[in-house]
């Protein structure tokens, strides 16, 4: 055959084929190696960074199980990564690692966002609760000098101190400690609230309001019938109203006892007594240190009867006295108008009242005449607060700040 005689030496042909084959195989292997997915020499830092950020934002505290699983998955992936790196490249399973890496990247981002959201929501809840308790403290503080909250003054101060501490803890980013202080503050406030509510509820009680209205009506009827001067003292609205012929003549602002709105029980309680009184004595300037004064016939027989009953019930200690010397008077020498239970007016107003008053003039002292008085509104706010206290978030279980 011509082909055989073309100059090719038959003995050389296998070597050429083998060399060509080897070159093709080596080239293919090179291309495969070149195109193969290879792991970076170092584990990508993004996951570890996400892990740390999530932890800093309290992921461990808010979602312990989820965070632990995420952290463990990163550890496992990193170990797997190192193992695969040390394997011969054609046998390394980089695809699974890449998939896991992408999944953890998403999980980490979600976890971080969730932790940030939870932390912020929790902080907001606690801050709102703190402000809410502060408002309650202020409502109760507003009762000092009006109702008898003396027994619980210390508790009120302690509560305020605890709330101040909680506010400082918020500033320090120590929400868990703030939460504990907030709980202590709430506990400390409970007796103050219950005492205040017990004292205030009379002002919204229908039977009490009916009684007060009856007293006023009978006094005004007397004034209308006789044409005489009568005085109505409205404790809740802080007014003394002068009547003639059953018609209002003048209204004067007044100050009461340091627990003036409370029902008078005994001497020294600072309450201004309620009832239908008469002026016993007019004290001109010089006969009193309060400019001028009108002495009332407190205690009446009704007051004495109730006082004895209170003693029998044990509400009042056996050695306590009922008190007396309740007057309508002018200002104190130091200018302070608040009294121990009397009704105080500015001196100019007292001059008018004193001029129109006579011995025997009826003076009816009542708490309020309508159920929409401010005390009922304040009571409503205090009661609503106790009923619907802002729920505190659960303890975070943070291990970051033991």
């Amino acid at each position: 055959m011509q082909w055989w005689g073309s100059g090719w030496h038959p003995a050389k042909r296998p070597a050429i084929w083998l060399t060509t084959g080897a070159l093709i195989i080596l080239s293919s292997l090179f291309v495969a190696w070149w195109n193969a997915d290879r792991l970076p020499p170092l584990f990508p830092p993004q996951l570890e960074s996400l892990d740390r950020q999530a932890w800093t934002h309290g992921a461990e505290a808010f979602s312990l199980e989820r965070y632990t699983a995420f952290h463990q998955d990163i550890t496992d992936l990193r170990t797997q990564w190192r193992r695969e790196q040390s394997r011969w490249w054609p046998t390394a399973d980089t695809q699974t690692l890449q998939t896991t890496y992408q999944r953890l990247l998403h999980e980490g981002t979600d976890l971080l966002e969730a932790s940030k959201h939870q932390k912020s929501t929790r902080h907001q809840q606690l801050t709102t609760a703190l402000e809410s308790e502060r408002r309650q403290v202020n409502r109760l503080r507003a009762l000092i000098g009006i109702f008898d909250v003396r027994r619980n003054l210390r508790a009120l101060s302690v509560t305020e101190g605890l709330l101040n501490q909680a506010a400082s803890r918020f500033k320090q980013d120590r929400d868990d400690q703030a939460r504990i202080l907030l709980l202590q503050a709430r506990e400390s406030l409970l007796p103050v609230e219950s005492q205040a509510m017990a004292q205030m509820k009379r002002y919204g009680a229908a039977s009490q309001l009916a009684k007060w209205n009856h007293w006023v009506a009978s006094t005004l009827k007397w004034s209308s019938t006789t044409g005489g001067t009568a005085m109505i003292v409205l404790k809740a609205s802080g007014q003394l109203v002068l009547y003639q012929h059953g018609k209002p003549l003048r209204r004067f602002p007044i100050e009461l006892g340091f627990s003036g709105l409370q029902e008078k029980i005994q001497e020294g309680d600072g309450a201004t007594p309620e009832g239908q009184f008469r002026i016993l004595q007019k004290k001109e300037a010089g006969a009193t240190k309060f400019h001028k004064a009108l002495l009332l016939n407190y205690p009446t027989s009704e007051h004495r009867r109730r006082f004895q009953e209170a003693k029998v019930r044990g509400v009042v200690a056996a050695h306590r006295a009922i008190g007396g010397l309740i007057e309508i008077h002018g200002q104190q020498p130091n200018g302070n108008n608040t009294t121990n239970g009397c009704i105080a007016l500015d001196n100019a107003d007292m001059d008018v009242v004193f001029y129109l008053a006579k011995e025997g003039t009826p003076v009816t002292v009542v708490g309020a005449l309508q159920s929409d008085n401010w005390i009922v509104k304040a009571l409503h706010d205090i009661t609503e607060h106790t009923r619907h206290r802002i729920a505190l978030p659960a303890e975070s279980g943070s291990v970051r700040h033991p």
Binding site: R83, S86, R141, I144, N164, N334
Partner: protein
């Protein structure tokens, strides 16, 4: 001729054995212990409370070093290499030291701030007490004065708790209490000042 061949064989065996010995890398036990000690030192310096992020970095590095040691432990003896683990452990020691330094500095700063707050609180309380002693008294001011005295008593009681907390080195707790005292005392001061302004009178000393 036989002696030469025998010598070559012996030499090759010695060479192979030597290579194997050299290839058997040593596990970084000392480095691991040193890193752990550094972490412990950082924690003892208060890093958990005062430099938590820096401590966490060091702890993460330590975990990675342990993982690397685990990987190398399971690697073929001749290719085993603890260099990366050693490098990580060295980094742990450095990072733990940084956490320790940061913790000491932050703790010192917290202590200074706490002490400063206590001084301010004590000063405010004294001022409030003096101010309250000047408050106008008279018929009907009992409730207000009693409330203000209650505030100062509560503030004093809180101040009394501070020494015990300071001894426990809870400086942030001390600061919170001191700030609370200061707020209460300031409020008392303001209220008494208002009362004086209202009546225009001081109590005679």
């Amino acid at each position: 001729m036989g002696t030469v061949i025998q010598s070559f064989k012996t030499g090759a065996l010695v060479l192979l054995f030597g290579t194997m010995l050299m290839a058997c890398a040593e596990k970084p036990i000392q480095g691991s212990d040193a890193a752990l000690q550094a972490l412990q030192a950082a924690k003892q310096a208060g890093a958990t409370e005062y430099a938590p992020e820096a401590l966490r970095v060091a702890e993460d590095e330590y975990q990675k070093a342990q993982e690397e040691i685990g990987v190398q432990d399971n690697t073929f003896m001749l290719t085993r290499n603890y260099d990366a683990a050693n490098a990580l452990l060295t980094k742990v020691a450095g990072d733990a030291e940084k956490a320790k330094i940061a913790a000491i500095a932050n703790k010192q700063q917290a202590k200074s701030e706490a002490e400063g707050s206590v001084v301010l609180a004590k000063t405010s309380l004294e001022e409030a007490k003096n101010q309250l002693a000047q408050a106008p008294t008279g018929k009907g001011t009992q409730a207000d004065l009693q409330a203000l005295r209650g505030d100062l008593q509560a503030a004093e009681a809180t101040l009394g708790e501070i020494d015990a907390i300071m001894a426990k080195e809870d400086f942030l707790g001390v600061k919170a209490k001191a700030e609370s005292v200061q707020t209460l005392a300031t409020r008392v001061n303001e209220q008494v000042a208002q009362a004086i302004l209202k009546t225009g009178k001081h109590k005679k000393a």
